[in-house]
């Protein structure tokens, strides 16, 4: 079951590389996404047994992240097929400098997309720290070609930056893994393999000094991937240059995978009695990420970059929630799910806007509501959702984190958190509202489609609806999963 979840997209991805017909490749992409989502849904109801001697397993936390990733991928696959049919072939004029550029071959794109899904599934399912590392590096390698989909120099720069920064970050995480092995040294034969459950069971026997070092290195390493400030520098470039569905996938799924890896290490630290240390680090990185993101969001002129910085902000929020602990940890996990859905929706809509207006500069886009009625309405709704306004899911999760901070009597953190959220709200409002309103004349490209395509609006609309539902009530199954995840990873 778990192996099928990993192997189906992998094999489909390999197949996509060698397929001749584009039509067939699109069908393969959609089929793999549906099978993956179907298997995930089955796994939700009957928790599959761990496989490969406990190296891969799906518990509550894993299911939470896997469910989000799989649902997102399905939405993005539908969107991608429409996108590829529209813009896949031929040369396009560059939106900023006007030169013509081709796109990467579709075989590469679809193949990498599917392999990317496979590696992300492996990150989520992996219980062995070494396997997890291999999988995280795998996600970097599979997604770098996706960022370089538009073959021009800016996307190349973004992809190179992404590849180098993340590879270095993940190399640091590898050192962290070795530190972890050293810290397990005194336990001798009792820790026979470096699996997370085993490490947690024997956590008190780990050498605390080396464990602390391991945690820091892994936090920095995977934190680079997760986009925590000040290690986030690849993120705005990659998100703004990649095609929109890739940005959606990076923001909505990849960052979560890295977060899960960090959460697992946190669990080991808590079990070893180092909770204060690791929680302090979570709060520190959380606040710094939120602050840095807020600075760059205010006055940001490129709306895709703004969405990217907003991801930094929300990852910071989730870190803060876990760092505060208590009910805030519940809020943090809920926040991760909400953020994924909302951000993916916004990136897909940004893709629609980019397609119609051919510019990423926010000030040149006006009247989205008039020009693209459905996308425009969703764009506005997405703005309220992402800034944590009621009645959307992020409102609930951000409020829960605030409540957690107040419960823990950490008033300064709560005040800083509120101030930063407010700053981000104002910064984003200025851009989003101006884009949505106005006449929208003159700015459009000549061959803009007369009406919005089905495949371009249904996926974001469904994602938006899901966020709305999560804001109105949290389904029992999700609540149980989060509670179990918190208990499993000892996030309280």
């Amino acid at each position: 079951m778990i192996l099928a979840l990993i192997l189906v997209p992998l094999i489909a991805g390999a197949g996509a590389f060698f397929m001749r017909s584009n039509r067939l490749r699109h069908a393969l992409l959609l089929a793999a996404a549906i099978v993956h989502a179907g298997l995930t849904a089955v796994a939700w109801t009957i928790r599959p047994l761990s496989q490969l001697g406990g190296w891969v397993a799906l518990d509550a936390a894993e299911m939470l992240f896997l469910g989000t990733t799989s649902a997102l991928f399905l939405a993005i696959a539908v969107f991608a097929i429409g996108y590829l049919n529209r813009e896949g072939q031929g040369r396009l004029a560059d939106i900023e400098e006007g030169f013509l550029f081709p796109n990467a071959p579709e075989a590469t794109f679809v193949g990498c997309l599917l392999i990317f899904l496979s590696t992300m599934t492996l990150v989520i399912a992996a219980q062995h720290v070494g396997l997890m590392w291999v999988a995280v590096e795998g996600t970097t390698l599979a997604s770098a070609p996706l960022i370089h989909y538009h073959r021009h120099h800016r996307s190349l720069e973004a992809a190179w930056k992404y590849l180098v920064i993340c590879s270095v970050g993940i190399a640091i995480a590898l050192l962290g893994n070795f530190f972890l092995v050293v810290s397990a040294g005194p336990a001798g034969e009792r820790i026979s393999s470096m699996r997370i459950p085993e490490l947690m069971a024997h956590a008190t026997e780990l050498d605390p000094k080396w464990l602390k070092g391991a945690f820091l290195l892994l936090l920095v390493g995977y934190g680079t991937k997760m986009g925590l400030a000040p290690l986030h520098t690849w993120l705005p470039d990659a998100h703004s240059e990649a095609p929109s569905m890739v940005s959606a996938l990076l923001s909505g799924a990849l960052l979560n995978c890295a977060f899960l890896a960090i959460l697992r290490m946190h669990g080991v630290c808590v079990a070893a009695g180092l909770a204060d240390f690791s929680k302090g680090m979570f709060v520190l990185f959380g606040v710094v990420s939120m602050a840095v993101a807020a600075v760059f969001i205010v006055g940001q002129s490129d709306y895709k970059r703004m969405l990217a910085y907003s991801s930094v902000e929300h990852m910071g929020t989730a870190m803060l929630g876990v760092g505060v602990g208590g009910i805030a940890a519940f809020g943090a996990l809920l926040h991760v799910v909400n953020h994924s859905l909302t951000k993916a929706m916004l990136f897909l809509l940004a893709g629609n806007i980019l397609g119609a207006y051919r510019t990423k500069t926010a000030s040149q886009v006006t009247g989205v509501l008039r020009v693209l009625p459905v996308s425009g309405a969703l764009w506005l709704a997405g703005f309220f959702a992402i800034t944590g306004s009621p009645p959307f899911g992020l409102f609930v999760s951000e409020l829960t984190i605030l409540k957690g901070a107040l419960d823990a009597r950490r008033f300064i953190i709560a005040a800083a958190y509120l101030a930063l959220l407010l700053t981000v709200f104002v910064g984003m409002a200025m851009v989003f509202l101006r884009m949505a309103h106005g006449t929208g004349s003159g700015a459009l490209r000549e061959d803009a489609p007369a009406r919005e395509r089905f495949s371009a609006i249904v996926p974001p609309a469904v994602l938006g609806l899901a966020v709305l539902v999560l804001g109105l009530y949290v389904p029992g199954a999700l609540r149980t999963a989060i509670d179990q995840a918190i208990a499993g990873m000892r996030l309280f």
Binding site: A158, V168, V181, D302, R305
Partner: protein, 214 residues
Amino acid sequence: MTDWIDAAIALVVLSNLRLLGTSRLAACIRIVAVQGIILGLLPILFHAGNLTLRVALQATASMITKGVVFPWLLTRAMRGADTRREIDPIVGYTPSLLVGGALLGVALWLGWRLPLPVPAGSQFMIAVSLFTIMVGLFMIVARRMAITQVLGYLAMENGIYTFGLAFAEKEPLLVEMGILLDVFVAVFVMGIMIYHINREFDHIDTDRMSELRG
């Protein structure tokens, strides 16, 4: 046998300093390859008395990738780019060597401060691995060319591998091979990107790729 191990470790240190002090790309590629081969030999030296098939396999795979495949890939990339040396690094070669000396001091101090709770092959293992990691990181930030940055990444990877050598038994073969595969694919993808950078910019300086900011 410890003499041989210490000699190998000293060679790694020297290769790092040489890497910092040379501008010729071909030489840099060779140095990193030699480093990879020395590090591949180390586990064989550690287990000289009781060499198992697993250790031999691992060491061979590592030596072939780092000593043969990577140099070949990188030399091809270099030929494609039609460049022989790094002309104008961000930090010059003499200052780089001085930095290298300082880093060596820091690494030795750290290695002395961080004794392993389990016995390692040699008392200098940690210091050398930290030194190699730091040299790799320094190469990545102090050089402009994409190839030299990849070499820095490889040196860093070598350093981490050195650290892992001290307790290779704990890591299962599957993970070792996975790590090697990842590094291989990473260099492969970077090689492809260097090819694209060449075509796009007519050179492989990454610092001209500086339009994305803010």
